[in-house]
Each structure stands twice: as structure tokens, then as C-alpha cells.
């Protein structure tokens, strides 16, 4: 194991200075996520326009560097993506964290890929995988208007 794989510069940067942190007035979808084992919390806010495109996305929350960086990178990536694209990206990311060695979606340019792959370090730290995936599960919940809070110990 190598800590440098886990705490890459991109992670430390996004962890310390998360992008899109906060809330905005006219969101029309939102969802909360919670990891009861460690207390990490995330609240994702979305503005989805009439074309089902995410025109704005922000998040509030607190947690470890991995979860904050994951939420930060996710919100950057999702802006201006439509529902179909959002689904494809989430699926691709979650598969990469679970099994796939790489990302497969054509929607991702090299820059985004580098950012997303910086989270792949958690694969070697099974206890930390949920830190990386919590914001993504919460985004799914917001997009699908699922009632209740995402709970890492109940959903997988």
C-alpha cells in the first residue's frame, strides 16, 4: 500500500478547497447522505432544467479528505450534463471504484479522467471506499427523487 496513491495532490487540493461547496436558492432537487460509521454527511443540491440538464449543482457537508474531494470532483464533472449522461458517468465511476481498472465512458476527457482516477487509490483501502462513493449515491438519490437519506450501511 502506498499513501501517495490515496492522498494524491488532486485529492488533497479538492479536500482542502472543495469546489461548489454551499447551497443555492433555486435548487429543485436535493438529497442527503450519511455514513453512520464515521459521521460523514453530504447534502447535494441540483437545479435540473426543462431539458433534464443539471444547470447548477452544489453540495454541503463535512467529512474526510476523500469524501470531500469526491463530492467536489463529482459536482465539477456533472455540471451541464443531462440525465442520461449523469447516469452513465455515475455508473462508470462506481464500476471503476468496485472492479474496473479504468473509466470507459466517452463523455470523459483526459482532464476529467485524471481527476476521477485520483480517487481510485481507495480501492486498496476497503474501509475508505464508502467515503468516495457516498456523494455519488446521494446524487443518484437526488436525481431520482428517492425519499429519505442515503445511508452507507443500508444501500450499496
Amino acid at each position: 500500500m502506498d499513501l501517495k496513491d490515496l492522498y494524491q495532490e488532486i485529492i488533497l487540493d479538492h479536500g482542502k478547497n472543495p469546489r461548489n461547496l454551499g447551497k443555492f436558492e433555486n435548487f429543485n432537487k436535493d438529497a442527503k447522505g450519511h455514513n453512520p460509521l464515521c459521521g460523514d454527511k453530504v447534502h447535494v443540491y441540483l437545479k435540473v432544467d426543462e431539458n433534464k440538464k443539471i444547470s447548477d449543482i452544489k453540495f454541503e457537508g463535512h467529512g474526510c479528505a476523500i469524501s470531500m474531494a469526491s463530492a467536489s470532483i463529482m459536482t465539477e464533472l456533472m455540471k451541464d450534463k443531462d440525465q442520461k449522461e449523469v447516469n452513465e458517468l455515475i455508473e462508470d465511476f462506481l464500476k471503476m471504484i468496485k472492479d474496473n481498472p479504468d473509466l470507459k465512458s466517452n463523455l470523459i476527457n483526459e482532464d476529467d479522467k485524471t481527476k476521477l482516477m485520483s480517487l481510485s487509490g481507495v480501492k486498496k483501502y476497503p474501509m475508505r471506499v464508502k467515503c468516495a462513493t457516498l456523494p455519488w449515491h446521494t446524487l443518484i438519490s437526488a436525481m431520482t427523487n428517492k425519499p429519505g437519506e442515503v445511508n452507507t450501511e443500508k444501500d450499496d
Partner: protein, 405 residues
Amino acid sequence: MNIKDIKKEFPIFDNKVHNNDLVYLDSANSSQKPKVVVDRIYDFYTKEFSNVGRSVHYLAVAATNLYENTRVLVQKYINAKDPNEIVFTKGATEAINLVANTFGQKYLKEGDEILITELEHHSNYVPWHYLRKSKGVKINFADVDENGDISIESIEKKITPKTKILAITHLSNVTGAILPIKEIIQLAHSKNIPVLVDGCQGAPHLKLDMQDLDCDFYAISCHKMYGPTGLGVLYAKKKWLEELPPYQGGGGMIGEVKKEGITFGDLPNKYEAGTMATAQVIAFGESINFINKLGIEKIEEHERELTKYGEEILRKNNSVKLIGSPKNKGSVLSFTLDGVHPHDIATILDEDGVAIRAGHHCCQILHEKLGLAATARASLGVYNTKDDLDQLNSSINKCIKIFNS
């Protein structure tokens, strides 16, 4: 005490963690096991195994004697009056559930109040919570102060004519506060309120004397006392065990069973329904022998010195914020680091073989009061040394370096 020799009695320290020596600082969560305890489990299963209290054959009689022998060892360890005041449970959690359930059933009614504190582990809150629903009782919380301490006054303030029981920790598993429980018990008794002490962190580290403390109930987790998992002890004054109803029903706890009705067995069987954790009970006898051989006073002294040393070096480290500076502090060093989340601390420390815990440590009420979602916690056992704490400090510095580079 020669700690190097003591460490050798714990086989776990023969192993490497990520190619490093193990620096185990998570004993408040669960302690490591000396070889005598592990061997005792093996020997019992390979040479002496039988169920307890049910057959007359040779092995059954021998096993029953071994099992009851541990009860007497526990009785002496905590200076209870009578071995029948010792009930084996699956853990401290079950011990507290037993009391909450049976005491609630028999004595509590709508409007009654239970007093606990903001320091309590979920195990000493959630079992009482059920009585809110089933009985309509109210739960009050004595305030923790800015040092992470509970004063006698803060308890007194929350006692009302409706307070029917006080449930309180002996030693906080987050701030390390050792509460003045003897005085608190005196206060409660002066108002006719019985007291349950959550002794999970008290029993492994402090000399205990039930008759001197005069508490009504004391809950112990054996796995935190160099003993096996799946085992706890409830100490209860005999009059309570006689008066309260049984907790669970089953074999072994009955007197006479007829189609029309059932009578219950004598103490302690009344509270030990079904086949118990026999091997664990017998092995736990060796944990107590192990502690007695070293001397609990010596262990206390060693851990007090280590705690002081740990506090000193962590206070000197400007990035570290220690959580809780109670008057009387035992074996727990909780802390946060500027700009590094406790979970990241735990992962980075683990790489160096340093095992700590990060999170809310099953004390969400306290963490909310502290305004923290999580803390990092290093906690001590008899096998720890100043070197372990130096390693902790240097691994903490590594976290800071990673996060501030």
C-alpha cells in the same frame, strides 16, 4: 513493571502491520489478549469440554466448577459481597439492557424520569430509550462541562422527585474523565435513587470495590479486560436480582416448569438462560489472574504515567487539539488535528502500524455538544510504552506533512 516482558505475553505483538511493529492504541475499543487467555480457550475445548450445570458425568462436573470458579474470581476482583451478585451476559451492552428492561418493567411508569449524562456511550442511552416508548418515561441528561467532565453539581441539578434511576459512566471513553462515582452514588442514594454504573472503561483500569462504592449495578465488558469477546458481567446487589423479574426465558433459569405455570431458578441462574459462553467465562478467569498477577494498582499507576506523558507530548505539538482535560483523566487521549479529518489521520497512522480509532466512538450526544462530527482517539492498555506514544506523535507529524505539503 517491565512492560517489555508484559508485551511478550501478548502473541499479537509478534505480528507486523504493513511491515511495522504494531503500536496498539485502541484498547478502549477492545484490548489484546495474553497467551494464557487464548490457551485457556484451546485447552478447554481440547481437554475439558462439556456443557455446564446439566449432566452428572465427569466432564460436566469439572466444567461447571471451572465456570463457577470465574464467578468467584470476578466477585473478588470487584469486591462484591456474594458470588451470586455476578451475572454473566454477552457484553456490557446486554448487562445494561438487562437492567433497563427488568427495572423498567417492574418499577417505571409514565412520567417517571431516568437520569443519564451527555458523556454516555450509546450502550448506556439506547437501552433506556426503549422505555420512552413502552413506558412513557422521560430521559434527562446531566451536562458535560468544557473540560469533558461531569460534576456532582451537574447531576444534582437534574435530579427531580420523579428521577427513578441514575445511569452513569465510570470513565468516559472519549474525554477520559473519571467521574467521582462514589460521591455521585451517595448523592443519589440520599434521594433514594438507585445507580447503574457503566464500568466498561473502569473495570480494566481502576481498582474496584463494589461494597465501598455501594452502587446498585455495575456493567463490565470482558473483551476490554484482556478477556474474550462475547462476554460481559453484570454486578447487581442481591436484593435487586431477587426483586427484579427474569430477563430472558429458557433452559437453566427455571425452578419448576408445568403446563399451568413456571417458577424461576435461584440466583444467579435466574438471569443466565440457555447455554452460556462457557469457554469465554472460563478463559476470562485467566484474564483476571493475569491482571491480579501484575496488580491492578500497578497497572493503574503505569497507565496514569503514560496518560500524563501522552498529554504532555501532544500538548507540545501545536497542530494537535486534545479533547477533554478533566480533573481526573484515565487512559484515553482523544484529539483533532487542524486541517486533517480524523479518518484520514487513522488511515495514515495505520500505515505506520499505529492502530487508533476515529469517529464518534458511539458517543454522538457528546460529539454534538463538542461541535465535532468525529475525533481521533488513542487509548492505552497495560502493554503500551512511552515509545508507543512517541511513535503516535511522529506519525501525527507525518499526517500534518502530507496535508500541508
